[in-house]
């Protein structure tokens, strides 16, 4: 049982405990109500497979892949459940299960284009046009702004990147980007079960970052944040990784941005990778509170509900993925807020597919709330 044995003790511990507390917050289980689609049942599915009670079947594959790896189960448990699920996926792929075609295409694109979206490498730097951001060169800059594949090549998400860069510039932060040499962080590979490809990519990425002599990476994407942070820490790198919300919250706190607050009621959606998996809850809220009236959704912080986009669910199970987004939007609307703020390109794209509330990127919101931008808009009127 190469691949699952590592977690045998934990899987048996879950069987021994069997509390099922993971069911309460699991977005997939709550939508489907099938016990294999929650961590307790998934652990049991792995246990049965290890014991030879049955062979790999369509339901086994669904148990492994019908999950956003949002980490809600880890919130309720001391076991490394999302790691079990990731290992479960790897195990199945090694044991004759062909990757979902949607996942295979993401993997092929990362290999050929350096991003999961079949966009040429040259597309990666279009967002930064006219911003005069220097290209990172060895020993030249301490701070690297890491745009991430999804925002960089998706026109709808570019304003968030532009806002991030402008805010850093306004506050006087000196930073560089890697332009079209910026690599994929490999998060997608890891989460759809392509561990070896991920390890190869990560090795090269760490070498690239180290060769630049940078001290800090500021990521725009929470997925890049958790992935790069873990990879660099595991490989003993001293490069610090922060999310843009953390970096900018510090600037807000230090009064480096001249902001205008509006009375508008806004709610904040914690991206799983930034919140539950990354432990960053306060900084985005500080930013929202600095420019608007923050109202919380019933499920927030550790108990925030996944938007449904993560870990290949959006591509392989689009209907279920959209159902999760609809639930989250309904929750946001129930707060009476006019706007839902988030700071993840996946969450933003996913939540915008459901009508009912305005969805904005945190950095765009903040930039729009600077005195300068407000004046510009007033002038234009």
């Amino acid at each position: 049982m190469n691949g699952l044995e590592e977690f045998k003790d934990e899987i048996e511990t879950c069987f021994g405990t069997s509390c099922g507390f993971c069911e309460r917050g699991c977005p997939i289980y709550q939508a489907m109500k099938v016990k294999t689609l929650c961590m307790k049942g998934r652990n049991r599915t792995m246990l049965g497979l290890m014991q030879g009670k049955y062979e790999i079947s369509p339901a086994v594959v669904e148990a492994a892949f019908e999950c956003t790896l949002c980490g809600n189960c880890d919130r309720w448990c001391s076991l490394k459940n999302t790691e079990h699920t990731r290992a479960f996926r790897e195990y199945l792929l090694k044991h004759g299960v062909e990757p979902f075609k949607e996942h295979a295409s993401l993997v092929a694109s990362i290999k050929n284009y350096g991003n999961p979206w079949f966009q040429p490498r040259s597309a990666r730097n279009r967002w930064a046009k006219g911003l005069n951001i220097p290209k990172a060169a060895p020993g030249q800059q301490d701070v690297l702004f890491f745009a991430g594949c999804t925002s960089a090549v998706n026109k709808a998400l570019v304003p968030g990147l532009v806002a991030s860069a402008k805010l850093l510039q306004k506050a006087g932060v000196k930073f560089a980007t890697m332009n079209q040499d910026e690599p994929c962080c490999g998060s997608t590979l890891l989460r759809v079960g392509q561990r070896e490809a991920f390890e190869d990519l990560s090795k090269k990425n760490v070498e690239k970052f180290e060769s630049l002599g940078i001290k800090k990476i500021v990521t725009a994407c929470p997925g890049c944040y958790t992935t790069l942070k873990k990879v660099l820490e595991e490989r003993g790198s001293k490069i610090q990784v922060v999310h843009i919300a953390q970096e900018v919250a510090g600037l807000v706190r230090d009064g480096k941005l001249d902001l205008r607050k509006s009375p508008e009621r806004m709610t904040y959606h914690d991206p799983c990778h930034l919140g539950r998996l990354g432990g960053v809850f306060d900084e985005p809220r500080e930013i929202v509170k600095a420019v608007a009236n923050l109202v919380e959704m019933p499920n927030n912080r550790y108990e925030s509900r996944c938007c449904g986009a993560g870990a290949g669910l959006q591509s392989a199970f689009p209907k279920l993925s959209r159902d999760l987004a609809a639930k989250r939007i309904a929750e946001a609307k129930s707060t009476g807020a006019t706007t839902l703020v988030t700071c993840c390109p996946f969450c933003e794209t996913q939540l915008k597919t459901v009508p009912g509330i305005k969805v904005v990127d945190l950095m765009e919101l903040l930039l729009d709330s600077t005195a300068e931008e407000k004046e510009k808009r007033n002038g234009a009127k």
Partner: protein, 522 residues
């Protein structure tokens, strides 16, 4: 689906591999060595699919496998998977399922969160498993009359989430409330943290809808009235019935106003009996206690996870203390303050000492009730990587608590089990009646230790009856206690059998629980 089929096993019923640990009548059950991919008799499955729709019927071996075990101590390969799982949405779906089962004489086991501590909802004879969690809708919230009507697959927490905006709550609160369903709470008659003020689920239950073993839909109870003196109280039969009389599909529950604040304290006593005497004194004084749990000294350690995390050691209590009483008062601040002060004053008469270290008290309460520390790290997986919690749940007369405690320790030691300790939960409104949790750690990877745990459990059952008590107070009978039902109930057991036959003439509902499964008529 990009699934490449593997070589499939032939369709065979499992045989041969029967655990030596189970009672005789369970030995004929469907203990799983390898799950068949196809069933011998598929005709009733076809009927289920036609009646419910394919999407509500699960047949894949992996999907069925996960329903084959609950929270009870058992070895990791001891699963009893059903032959088919159905996911009903309505009472009608349940009715259709039971009618098909009745026609084919197939076992039907209904379950919720599968957090039972003794295998109550484990389908030991296979057949059809009804996963009621797919029926978790709110039918009606009647704010004026303080009631809620729900489908019984709703968890107790979901009920409370639904009524919180009305400043109401369902005070039946077992530790498993996050996943324990309303139906399971009724069918298992499980415990509640706040029993001494509000009682257990039966004190909250006004009416319940069931599907009997013939597929008939019945409403039992007294609508929204709080009690009745009319007719026989058939609804009461449901508490602890383990789904053997009917599948409970909807319930009307009485709600209570949420107290504005709660104060929890802990007192230590030189003897368990002194804690009992003290509680009696508080009740005599007219105090309204919200929760009261008497822990033996050993048991405290199981509930102080956050304390240990913070300080790297177990909390210290006086060496002379043998019992710890956790007690709460709830209501308006002035009333709570007065009651607490009065209770503390009376403690002196019983050689009790108030635990001043708030962290210890909060740690216990957090672990026991709120389960909301941050980040949440449940004590169970942490403490159960090697061994798991296993318990017997006897009830004994109030004056014999201490005597029974010593017997519990003796029996656990005799069976070479590591003792977690005893907890007495006051579960009867405004009276001293308690349920006991006599807990030990069980190395569930060891067949021998699981066997010794079951022997320990059985011995405590018999002992409790000899103590003029009962063998079960919150886990029900399941198959584990079934051999002792005659010892507990004597000739009245025959009347219970007759009641069972009236509701379930073919014995298809959760067979093997309470009574051995009766042979199929030729």
């Amino acid at each position: 689906m990009a699934f490449r089929p593997h070589s499939l096993s032939p369709a065979v019923r499992p045989s041969g591999h029967t655990p030596c640990l189970m009672h005789d009548f369970v030995a004929q059950s469907s203990f799983c060595s390898r799950i068949p991919l196809m069933l011998v008799d598929m005709s009733y499955i076809d009927e289920l699919m036609t009646a419910l729709g394919k999407e509500k019927v699960l047949l894949d071996p992996a999907e069925r496998f996960v329903y084959g075990a609950d929270w009870s101590p058992r070895t990791p390969d001891e699963f009893f998977p059903p032959d088919v799982v159905v996911l009903p949405k309505t009472t009608r779906d349940v009715q259709r399922t039971v009618k098909i089962a009745y026609e084919h004489e197939m076992p039907v086991t209904a379950g919720g969160g599968l957090t039972g501590m003794l295998g109550g909802a484990v389908p030991i004879f296979g057949g059809i498993y009804i996963d009621t969690t797919s029926m978790n809708g709110v039918v009606e919230i009647d704010q004026k009359n303080q009631t809620i009507r729900v489908q019984t697959g709703a968890t107790l927490q979901e009920v409370n989430d639904a009524v919180l905006p009305y400043d109401l709550w369902l005070p039946h609160q077992p530790e498993s409330k996050w996943v324990s369903t309303v139906g399971a709470a009724i069918a298992c008659d499980n415990d509640s943290t706040f029993g001494v003020r509000y009682g257990k689920i039966l004190n909250c239950l006004l009416s319940a809808q069931i599907v009997t073993g013939t597929g008939e839909i019945l409403e039992l109870g007294h609508r929204k009235a709080h009690f009745t003196s009319s007719g026989y109280k058939l609804m009461h039969l449901l508490a602890g019935s383990e789904g053997t009389l009917g599948v409970i599909t909807e319930a009307t529950l009485k709600l209570e106003p949420i107290p504005s604040m709660r104060r929890v304290d802990m007192l230590v006593f030189p003897r368990l009996g002194a804690a009992v005497d003290y509680l009696n004194r508080l009740l005599k004084a007219g105090l309204c206690i919200e929760a009261a749990h008497i822990n033996c000294k050993r048991r405290l350690k199981f509930y102080t996870h956050t304390y240990k995390q913070k300080h790297g050691r177990d909390p210290e209590i006086p060496a002379w203390a043998e019992a710890l009483l956790a007690i709460s008062f709830a209501g308006d601040q002035d009333v709570v303050d007065f009651q607490r002060a009065y209770a503390v004053k009376l403690a002196k008469e019983f050689e009790a000492q108030l635990v001043e270290e708030r962290e210890l008290v909060d740690s216990w309460w957090t672990s026991k009730y709120t389960l909301a520390f941050d980040p949440f790290k449940q004590k169970w997986p942490d403490s159960q990587t090697k061994k798991k919690f296993g318990a017997a749940d006897p009830g004994v007369p109030v004056g014999r608590l201490e005597e029974f405690y010593h017997k519990f320790v003796e029996v656990a030691e005799k069976h070479r089990l590591e003792i977690i300790g005893m907890n007495a939960y006051l579960e009867h409104p405004n009276s001293i009646g308690f349920s006991l949790s006599c807990a030990v750690f069980v190395d569930y990877r060891s067949e021998d230790e699981v066997k010794r745990f079951r022997e320990f459990h059985d011995e405590l059952c018999k002992l409790a009856i000899a103590f003029e008590g009962t063998m079960s107070t919150f886990m029900s009978d399941t198959y584990q206690k079934a051999p002792y039902l005659e010892l507990e109930h004597g000739p009245s057991l025959q009347y219970m059998r007759e009641v069972k036959r009236m509701f379930d003439p073919k014995g298809i509902l959760n067979p093997g629980k309470k009574f051995p499964r009766e042979a199929k008529k030729p």
